[in-house]
């Protein structure tokens, strides 16, 4: 007993040491970024104005945070109440994901303190980026409100909490509208550059691809994250969360199989629409096929098999694989197949500092997630609010 007590109190757990080091390095890199400028810390160039801080932190971050709107829509709008226990963790991940996207954006922007300028100083409404900015700002607010019921229960503000809970349906619908808009418009960002993005990835359907794949990303992320919390935070879960995991994997896996199959179809229609079949037999074409067959068709099939055989483990591995596929897709569109016409000497590869900052922001997300989950009623129902 006393032994346990000592172990529990030491702050030098492996997790804390590793994250502590990453956060400390991240702090140093942050100072470097804001004193030396983007040129000194990144490999960005006039040809390659966007690097992994946009390609990964923004595009992948937003796609993987889609679990929030997907889960809350499934439970509150489509009435799939049996997945209710998945809503709060998904909303929390969504909220943290978007919050960190905004944090990461501050590193990338030249003058981050002007972030509100598009709304209050000079509105560039013809820009897809304006749509992205407006929707992300509004959706972050929606996610904050959706998430706020947990800290309000934790803090004991019963009346405010009940008010927030009453807004659930309105917030969920608002969240789906905003997510539809900005998930798709992240793809639409690249519509303006047909001469720079490889024709296999460039398509007038880009907004649809990004929206549909965000649903896949959301479903897979919820399964994946559920697996992780079960392994590492099992002691924080109540019975509903523990027993809800397998039906959740089956239900969301089934949905993911269907949506992935649809996504595969519209991707193929995209090639047909542009008549780019001949490009498949080129190096970029092979890479495109790796993405299309290995990370869209294969997981669609594996999800389907997993659901048919009730093979929860297969579904969970497939979820992780699909998440990786979404990462690859977003990096393809924004970095790998972007500027494909340039000679290799002008192509972009991230610097160590860029990778370090990205790692720092992801770690920050994990630490904050852990902090909140170990304190607030996320993986269990607050005893005073059960059944509400």
């Amino acid at each position: 007993m006393s032994q346990e007590h000592v172990v529990a109190r030491t702050i030098f757990t492996p997790f804390n040491v590793v994250t502590g080091i990453i956060l400390a390095i991240g702090g140093i890199l942050t100072i470097m970024r804001f004193t030396m400028g983007l040129g000194a810390v990144t490999n960005l160039s006039h040809y390659n104005p966007w690097g992994i801080w946009i390609g990964f932190d923004l595009l992948v971050g937003v796609a993987l945070a889609a679990g929030g709107y997907v889960t809350s829509a499934a439970v509150y709008i489509f009435g799939m109440k049996k997945y209710h226990s998945a809503v709060r963790p998904a909303i929390l991940t969504g909220f943290l994901g978007y919050a960190l996207v905004v944090v990461a954006l501050h590193y990338d922007l030249g003058k981050p303190w002007r972030l509100p300028y598009p709304f209050i100083v000079s509105q560039g409404t013809t820009s897809i980026l304006f749509e992205v900015g407006a929707c992300v700002a509004l959706y972050l607010t929606v996610l904050f409100l959706e998430f706020s019921s947990a800290p309000l229960e934790w803090l004991g503000f019963r009346r405010t909490r009940n008010l927030v809970v009453k807004l659930t349906i309105v917030l969920t619908i608002f969240g789906v509208v905003l997510s539809t808009l900005h998930q798709s418009s992240l793809g639409a960002l690249f519509l303006i550059a047909p001469s720079k993005l490889h024709p296999l990835w460039y398509s007038p359907y880009l907004p649809f691809y990004f929206f549909v794949s965000s649903v896949v990303a959301g479903l897979s992320m919820v399964i994946f994250e559920n697996t992780l919390t079960h392994r590492y935070l099992n002691h924080k879960m109540d019975e509903e969360h523990k027993t809800g995991a397998d039906p959740l994997a089956l239900g969301f896996g089934k949905a993911a199989a269907l949506v992935l199959a649809g996504y595969f179809s519209i991707k193929v229609i995209g090639i047909a629409n542009g008549n780019h079949w001949n490009l498949l037999n080129t190096p970029y074409g092979y890479w495109f096929l790796v993405e299309l067959l290995g990370f869209v068709a294969l997981p669609a099939f594996l999800y389907a098999v997993g659901v048919r055989d009730k093979n929860i483990n297969l579904i969970r591995y497939t979820a992780a694989w699909t998440v990786l596929g979404i990462v690859i897709n977003r990096l393809n569109v924004s970095l790998i197949a972007f500027n494909w016409h340039l000679p290799s000497s002008e192509r972009y590869f991230p610097s160590f500092i860029e990778i370090g900052v990205t790692l720092f922001i992801v770690t920050l997300g994990v630490v904050i997630f852990r902090f909140i989950v170990t304190r607030m009623p996320i993986l269990y129902q607050h005893p005073e609010y059960e059944g509400h």
Partner: protein
């Protein structure tokens, strides 16, 4: 009234066909934007250019740009291809040609001042303005530094002050807008010693360019670069060699940048208008489904209970009846057996009496 049926139908038909043809043609014509009327431009003719880099020097001087590492009269700078940078609004590149016509050939790289600029369309703070002079100007006082304009520009022109930590801006040629409004020539045009650069109204420049091609078809490629590329631009180019041989893209198409995104942007109101209605409908349906399921469940439970209690009652009644009848039977049986016993006893008694009497 002398309108015959035939005449009447004829009129109707003509009116219908008229609206169909006339309106369509008109609508299509109105969609084609050809730039601000009387906007200015520059024509660069590389058959006249001697590659002296004085345009670069002129640009540097009028825009107060920092002095370059190597002086402008050092022509060896052009041995390696360059592009616009944060401190070079325009550069001249040299391309050596092996085949006829004999080179070297020069190419100006700088903002083409599109009629419908991608940078202006992509900027989420409207930092770019397409001025009536034809110049595309940039206002650093609102720029957030997102660099989406650099993604959007098909000519890869906007450059960024990556070396500045706190107040970086975009750099690009602004066609010396401030000089044009004062009646002066752009810095590069003024510095050109051989009139390889001609400043004038875009319409006039196109006429001049056509005339040059017509007069010396052997000398020019039969194309005015910038007349239609990405919807057209205020800078126009004439060349002795195909443009692609100097790295100028010939696959950009004639669709202007704003048209590439206008479909996606016009989907916004549709999503905002339709999604809430559809989702509320779905919510109402799932609520109704739940409600119906609940009432059905309650009804089923009630029915089951009713049936169970009714069954129990009948079973009880049956049991009671059975018990009653059994009881009755038992009584009857008991009575019967008692009677029989009594009768038997009576029989024996009389027999005894008889035998007593006999004995």
């Amino acid at each position: 009234m002398s309108i015959t049926r035939r005449k009447f139908l004829g009129w109707i038909g003509a009116a219908g066909a008229g609206t169909l043809v006339g309106k369509r043609a008109g609508a299509a014509a109105n969609r084609h934007f050809t730039g601000h009327p009387d906007s200015m431009g520059v024509l660069y003719d590389n058959t006249l250019c001697i590659g002296c880099r004085r345009c670069e020097a002129g640009c540097n001087a009028v825009n107060n740009l920092p002095a370059p590492n190597r002086p402008f009269d050092d022509l060896a700078v052009m041995d390696t291809p360059r592009r616009t940078t944060a401190y070079e609004y325009m550069v001249m590149n040299r391309y050596d040609s092996d085949s006829a016509p004999a080179g070297p050939f020069f190419r100006r790289i700088g903002c083409n001042h599109c009629l419908e600029p991608a940078c202006a369309s992509s900027c989420f703070v409207s930092a770019y303005t397409k001025a009536e002079t034809g110049a595309v100007t940039y206002d650093p006082s609102v720029c957030v530094g997102c660099r989406y304009c650099m993604i959007a520009c098909p000519f890869e022109i906007p450059a960024y002050e990556y070396d500045k930590a706190l107040d970086p801006s975009i750099s690009k040629c602004h066609m010396c807008h401030h000089r044009i409004v004062e009646g002066l020539l752009p810095g590069c045009v003024e510095a050109c010693p051989v009139e390889a650069l001609t400043f004038g109204k875009r319409e006039a420049l196109i006429r001049i360019a056509r005339k040059r091609i017509q007069t010396r078809p052997d000398r020019y490629v039969d194309h005015i670069y910038g007349e239609h590329e990405m919807g057209g631009s205020n800078w126009l180019y004439l060349s002795a060699v195909p443009f692609r041989e100097m790295g100028m893209r010939e696959d950009l198409g004639v669709v202007s940048a704003p048209q590439l995104t206008h479909g996606a942007l016009s989907a916004v109101p549709i999503v905002v208008g339709l999604w809430p209605v559809l989702l509320t409908g779905v919510y109402a349906m799932s609520r109704r489904k739940d409600k119906i399921a609940e009432t059905e469940k309650a009804d089923a439970v009630k029915e089951a209970l009713d049936r169970a209690s009714a069954e129990a009652e009948t079973r009880l009644a049956d049991a009671l009846a059975k018990a009653e009848s059994e009881k009755q039977k038992a009584i009857e049986k008991a009575v019967k057996s008692a009677l029989e016993e009594a009768a038997e006893k009576a029989g024996t008694d009389s027999a005894e009496t008889t035998s007593e009497e006999e004995s």
